[in-house]
Symmetry: C2
Subunit: 455 residues, 2 copies
Amino acid sequence: MTDISSNNAHSVETLIDVLQTEDPSRIRAFLAKLPPGDEARALATLDKEQQARLIELLGPEKSVELLVKMTGRGVVSVIEQMPLQQAVDIFEEMPSRQQLDILRRLKGKDASRIIEALAPARAERLRELISYPEDTAGGLMIPEYLAFSRGMLVRDVLDDLRDYGEVYSDYAIQYAYVVSEGGELLGVLRLRDLLLAPKSKLLTDIMIKEPQKVRADTPLKDLKEFFKQVNYLGVPVVDTRERLVGVVLASAVREAVNRRSNQIFLQFSGIVGGEEFRTMPLFKRSSRRLSWLSINIVLNIVAASVIALYQDTLEKAIVLAVFLPIISDMSGCSGNQAVAVSIRELSLGLVRPKELLRVLGKESSIGIINGVVLGLLLGGVAFLWKGNPYLGLVVGVSLAANTLVAVSFGGLVPLFLRRAGADPALASGPLLTTITDVCGFFFVLSFASALLSRL
Amino acid sequence: MTDISSNNAHSVETLIDVLQTEDPSRIRAFLAKLPPGDEARALATLDKEQQARLIELLGPEKSVELLVKMTGRGVVSVIEQMPLQQAVDIFEEMPSRQQLDILRRLKGKDASRIIEALAPARAERLRELISYPEDTAGGLMIPEYLAFSRGMLVRDVLDDLRDYGEVYSDYAIQYAYVVSEGGELLGVLRLRDLLLAPKSKLLTDIMIKEPQKVRADTPLKDLKEFFKQVNYLGVPVVDTRERLVGVVLASAVREAVNRRSNQIFLQFSGIVGGEEFRTMPLFKRSSRRLSWLSINIVLNIVAASVIALYQDTLEKAIVLAVFLPIISDMSGCSGNQAVAVSIRELSLGLVRPKELLRVLGKESSIGIINGVVLGLLLGGVAFLWKGNPYLGLVVGVSLAANTLVAVSFGGLVPLFLRRAGADPALASGPLLTTITDVCGFFFVLSFASALLSRL
């Protein structure tokens, strides 16, 4: 009996031991005895040389059985280490879905060297599949499916499945499809309906007619919406001529959405590209972060130049220098809350980029409430500290006003950026804080100039 | 022929028209003609009264057929509007998975009123299921499954499926299970193996033996890890006595992870609770945001008090007031990049909270590189602006040093918070900016004090 947390350390150690025997049949026997998930896990924890040696000893067919159980990143790093011919041998044994995944992750040159080494028809097909953009139905679909023609009976299909079970066992056969002579999609067969129906029925009697389907160019956003509204495992994909070309599984859509939302979080925090792991090379990590920071520092200098304009006021009321960073920081915080809600709602399709007025209405009311509360707080502290009500007034009113500005713009900035074709997750933060800094510094210092004699 | 973007506006309009006839059979006929996904979509866009009226006219059984196609939030708002008896009638027709989802989302009182109105055995079962924490295998599992006893043949199962097809059609039958007399899990049957195997085989010959399984209390993190390593549609869940109690689908795990990672993004931006939609009441939205802002403003005042301590220095070199907000903001940005990477790696299980030294090593090297670059940039600007190399030195060195502090602490703070049992996504930002502000202000102003005669 095994459960998911057991056996891990144990199997790794033993796999290394068995590997050192260099005896292929002994290694195979060892792997065969492991419970299914543990094989891939054991492989993932070997170092690169040990992995390469293991694959060499096992041969391509058995190696693929292992590799298909690993996730994308892991397999790519194994493939990258291999000599071309070994990589091609292994690659040819993989299901198309995984081939595409690997080609997308490999660097351009490695990918084209592998494609060129394949049979021309196969290479052509892969080039076609890889040309679908990644986050569309075409890019997410499984390009293999079971399709039967319209004249067939339930019995014919069951016999076919039994005869070709070996071949089909790589496919995701939760659904089968009924197609016309020209390949157009006519209906969907659920596997369980095939099992449960009398054998003499025509497929066209038990199929779901006028099935839901998506075009190959349907974007991820629409696919997410689709699977949110219907509880299907997958949906067939058709080309512009209504011909069946593949199946998009709900799980593939969820995974892609998940990947996107992780990217949003990292981009929002200034990680360009939306992906950073500490295993990446130092220079790549630092230069990506720097590219975003460099833009930020320029914007910061621009915003701070407002302070330079009011140097006379500051000289006369040096105490304001204590409050400038507080107002800058608090406005940034208030604004970023609104930014985050807008980015989230945009990514879930709950708000459209043109709904500026609705968002403005919703955010400005929060801006007023929170501005008043925060303004009273900071104004009160300023008053109590220096015993000067005018200082409290300048600081409190400025923070209140700037909170309203920050929250309102915070809600709107991601919508503007989306309309302008820019990435809201990456650009909203710097843009927002520049606006709020300029306004905040201007509010405090111009208000202070007006009341200068009393400060 | 329908595709996912068409027909929407059209169907809604017509559904409202048909609803106004108040003729149940006409409404049913209309709904029957809609393609599958469009029914639920049309229902979701009706207003509350129209939905209630529609459900009343359709009766519970037909209504459930519609409601099961809607997502959680939508169904709950429909159920909340109903009189108790109507709600119970509809509830009883739903699959357990959706019943649990609704009970979890309903407010406590509504949920217990519905449970109390059910048959005692059913109520007991639901109370037991709902007692599993939401983000564990028990909370995520489908509590219905197909289980067969060990003596049966493939033929027996196929006959059983054919006979009880009607009943099973609500189940997620990608897998069936073989159990002992006491209910312990012995093996897994894949539906396609049942189809492809000779009928006279024993189930125990075609089942996957010693199957992977998880305990009901397995947390989401481990489930995610599990499905990352093995490419299964689902995994059986057993209780402490190894008895089968349900099935967790990979898709349910992905959805839960997705929900968590959206929460992380919003909490990181200061949305307490990790959930805000603009449809929520104004007061709830503003007070949640305020609770986080209030803590922030207190921390900001603490940090800015460092500036107050150096008022004399500032008075003599007022130009520093321009650079204080820049250093505060840039250090916050650099630090937050590191925070985001740590939060992401924590949530993916790529870093453990105790790996402080590894993270410190990885981050401090970035801190040095980026610190030097940013310090040269800002120092250069300061020098060019005032023509004073000492001003450039003070500002540049301070930013460089503080970038190193910010990036190093940024990487560590989420790990500390996780070890202390706090939520890194919510608390890292305020904690980090307080540290970086205090250090940054201290660096600039104490360094400036030392070089005061030259500024």
